[in-house]
């Protein structure tokens, strides 16, 4: 028994620990206090709960998705997907609020002039130096932006780079899909593996059975202009891809690729949740009746296009505020900050003067602290998997499902 357990621990440490440790427990910079954050995984910044266990208290989780993450080599990624999942365990209420990337928001503390929501992530990356890494600052500013503009406190976050979805699909060998009808899109965002985050490409996907690689599968689920009914058709296509993914990931030989899948996620999924808490969250998501999830998207009539040729959308606070109050049980604490109807150029005001934001320095510091922590997490997750029959002893499946939830902009992704 000791030999088997020791062998298992060695195998886990060798093949998974480094990947999973760079994915989970990644704390966001706490910009509300602006105290220098150490970023240590053993300490949660003030005001941020360490545990995401679905206990008795409401929890709000921010899901962020970037289309041109550039693997943190430079450049400032945008966060094109901003979804807040709110769970009230006592009433079993689950809500998902999507805020469009083009919603104009006030960037906190005058760091920059009001701009699209997706720029908050980029501004935090480039101009905030409170947390230990550019990424932690980017997430921190996104969280603070939502809190200050809408009054929604964010307890946890998960971030996904869309390149990771492509890699996972390709590792799984691609997908074989019966495309429901011809897809024509003249303005598909060509922002994956592209230095220009606002580039476009045209799509024409033939109907019928075909093989799709990761890029093609992403195009199939993301295209918004290929259906008269817009997001309704997109949802149906996502269901198809989810079903095919489930088939692929349930095959016996995927076991041989689990290490590769974990490597695919490394750098493309990050969350401040610890692995057992993430597994808890995904198990909870899988148990939901998705027909009862309260979904709202702050597109028109919750917003309207600005007339200053910026492409921004202006919030319709008369509708947004009561909706937020209802979804997040905020009552009078719900907010909706008005924004200028005309976007103005503004001065950038960087915040903080922290140490070098090098990812590698932080990683080095963390390695020694986390080896025993990661082993105990693995044991905990394995136990949970056995007890709940979820077949996810290493937590990799839950990480994959988290990625799919963000990519599909829907808790349907947890059903893969």
């Amino acid at each position: 028994m000791v030999v088997v357990a020791g062998g298992g621990a060695w195998y886990y440490q060798t093949n998974f620990a480094s990947h999973l440790n760079s994915i989970t427990g990644q704390q966001a910079a706490n910009l509300s206090s602006k105290k220098q954050n150490t970023g240590s995984q053993s300490q949660a910044p003030a005001g941020v709960s360490k545990s995401a266990s679905i206990g008795n208290k409401r929890v709000n989780i921010l899901l962020l998705g970037s289309d041109n993450d550039a693997k943190f080599q430079g450049g400032a990624p945008l966060a094109q997907t901003d979804i807040i999942v709110t769970i009230d365990p006592t009433t079993k209420y689950v809500g998902m609020l999507s805020i469009p990337r083009d919603m104009r928001v006030n960037i906190p503390d005058g760091i920059a002039a009001p701009n699209k929501l997706d720029t908050a992530f980029a501004y935090g990356w480039q101009y905030v130096h409170v947390g230990p890494t550019a990424f932690s600052n980017a997430v921190g500013l996104s969280m603070l932006t939502i809190e200050q503009n809408y009054g929604i406190h964010i307890d946890h976050y998960a971030w996904v780079g869309l390149d990771g979805f492509i890699k996972v699909i390709d590792t799984a060998g691609g997908l074989d899909i019966d495309a429901t009808h011809p897809m024509v899109d003249d303005d598909y965002p060509n922002d994956v593996n592209n230095k220009n985050a606002y580039d476009y490409k045209r799509l024409y996907i033939a109907p019928g059975p075909q093989h799709m690689n990761g890029v093609q599968a992403l195009e199939y689920v993301r295209t918004r202009h290929s259906d008269l009914v817009g997001d309704f058709g997109r949802s149906a296509r996502q269901q198809q891809v989810i079903s095919q993914l489930k088939t692929k990931l349930d095959t016996p030989d995927i076991i041989n690729k689990i290490n590769e899948l974990a490597a695919d996620l490394d750098g493309y999924v990050k969350t401040d949740m610890q692995l057992p808490d993430l597994v808890n969250f995904m198990n909870y998501a899988r148990s939901l009746d998705l027909n009862k999830v309260d979904r709202a998207v702050l597109s028109p009539p919750y917003s309207s296009m600005a007339r200053d040729n910026s492409g921004d959308y202006l919030p319709n606070c008369a509708l947004i505020q009561p909706k937020i109050a209802q979804m997040f049980a905020l009552g009078d604490n719900a907010k909706c900050e008005p924004v200028n109807a005309t976007r103005k150029a503004g001065i950038i005001n960087p915040v903080g003067s922290g140490p070098d934001n090098s990812e590698s320095k932080v990683a080095q510091t963390q390695v020694q602290d986390i080896s025993m922590q990661s082993f105990s997490q693995m044991a905990q997750v394995s136990t949970m998997s056995l007890q709940e029959g979820t077949n996810d002893p290493l937590g990799v499946r839950s990480l994959l499902d988290l990625m799919f939830v963000v990519v599909f902009d829907s808790l349907d992704g947890s059903k893969v």
Binding site: G173, G174, D176, D178, A179, T180, H181, P182, M183, V184, D185, D186, D187, Y200, K201, R202, Y204, A206, P207, G208, P209, Q210, H211, H225, S226, D227, L228, V229, F232, S243, M305, R307, N309, G311
Partner: protein, 404 residues
């Protein structure tokens, strides 16, 4: 036999067994299950060498987006390289192969001698994105798709979004028509005005699979994609129409949203929400079509049904509509599977090729069929035969073509 000689024999036998095992692994000799590895354009695929896989003529198809042919003697030949090629179609006189060359953001309609050679671009969809302040940019690029020959070998049907620059928002829809419609071009005068053949419904991708009915040079069949009146379910039907109806009745017909679109076509299959009948292929005698139907979320089938005569001249006459739809009830299911698509008849009408799915891979398959002389009903003869083992290289979204 001495001990030494006995041991030597044992070693020889052992080596022989190893050699036989390696022979199988390295694909030397006859190959596995009758398939032999063949090279085409730098790609290796398995080709069925058995007698059951013999056929007359040649099948054109694409592997990793290169155009290839497989003949009935199991020889394979590559015709294009370093191009993204789709949907080959050979002219009735056998001289030309038409196909699509796909690029980022657009495609070209091209022809080439049927055995390979110089490619001639008939239409290029190259264009650019044009700024559209406050909105996503417009594009001047065009798609072309699925060429299909007229019986004179001089005209090509094809699909395109050419009308998007001229077909603006209309009743019931606030968008430009991006969906592909059917047109015709003369290969002798490709710069002449293109003839509009079939209009499309807004928002569901447009038409597909257009082809002339053999021995009926004025009749075109195609798959029509649309949403139902609730705009939530697909209505995918096979339409047959007079190819000259739009040209001969200017201003009468129009594309549009469901309820506004007005076609000169008659439906050969019902307009039932969530019912999908697609990819029709006329038998060589022009009397029947093989087509694909989605049976449920995980199964599709190839059916064959007869097609009525004289149903394209008065498409809005209720009696004609009923007559066109009647043969659908005689549809016979010949094959089914998870994914089964793109039927292509043999020139003599005794077989059809199709793209099947086995072991998570798309490949070319062939089925023998027989037709009852009295009833005209088609049935499958024997077991379908897998012609290729491409290891995932066959492009299942590209329509194959069978020539004499």
């Amino acid at each position: 036999m001495t001990m030494k000689q006995h041991k030597r024999w044992q070693i020889v036998v052992l080596l022989l067994l190893v050699a036989l095992s390696l022979q199988s692994c390295l694909g030397i000799g006859g190959g596995n299950n009758g398939f032999q590895t063949k090279s085409t354009g730098g790609t290796q695929i398995g080709v069925n060498q058995t007698d059951q896989a013999i056929f007359q003529g040649k099948i054109y198809f694409t592997l990793n987006r290169s155009l290839d042919t497989l003949d009935g003697k199991h020889d394979i030949k590559n015709l294009t390289r370093r191009l993204d090629v789709r949907d080959p179609a050979v002219s009735p006189d056998g001289k030309w192969v038409a196909f699509i060359i796909r690029h980022l953001n657009y495609s070209d309609l091209a022809i080439m001698p049927s055995n390979g050679g110089t490619i001639r671009i008939l239409l290029s969809g190259n264009g650019q994105f044009v700024a559209n302040p406050g909105f996503a940019p417009k594009s001047t690029h065009n798609w072309y798709a699925q060429p299909s020959w007229g019986q004179d070998s001089k005209h090509l049907l094809f699909l395109s979004d050419l009308a998007k620059s001229t077909q603006g928002p209309g009743p019931g829809i606030n968008a430009f028509l991006l969906d592909l419609q059917a047109f015709e071009i003369s290969i002798e005068n490709p710069k002449a005005t293109l003839q509009a053949i079939a209009y499309a419904n807004y928002g569901d991708g447009g038409n597909r699979d257009a082809s002339y009915r053999p021995h009926h040079p004025d009749q075109v069949i195609y798959t029509h994609y649309a949403y139902d009146t609730t705009n939530t379910k697909q209505v995918i039907q096979l339409f047959l129409e007079d190819a000259n109806a739009i040209t001969n009745n200017p201003g009468k017909y129009r594309p549009g949203a469901t309820g506004y679109e007005f076609d000169p076509a008659v439906a050969l299959t019902p307009a039932t929400p969530d019912l999908a009948n697609l990819q029709p292929a006329f038998s060589p005698d022009g009397n029947s079509i093989a087509y694909v139907r989605r049976l449920d979320a995980t199964h599709m089938g190839i059916f064959v049904m007869p097609v009525a005569e004289n149903v394209t001249q008065n498409p809005n006459d209720p009696a004609v509509v009923k007559k066109a739809l009647a043969p659908y009830a005689k549809s016979a299911l010949l094959l089914s599977g998870q994914y089964i698509s793109q039927p292509a008849w043999s020139p003599d009408g005794t077989k059809f090729a199709y793209i099947g799915y086995n072991n998570n891979t798309f490949d070319l398959w062939m089925a023998n069929v027989s037709k009852d002389a009295k009833s005209g009903k088609y049935t499958i003869k024997g077991t379908p035969i897998q012609l290729t083992d491409t290891g995932g290289k066959l492009d299942a979204d590209s329509r194959p073509f069978w020539t004499p």
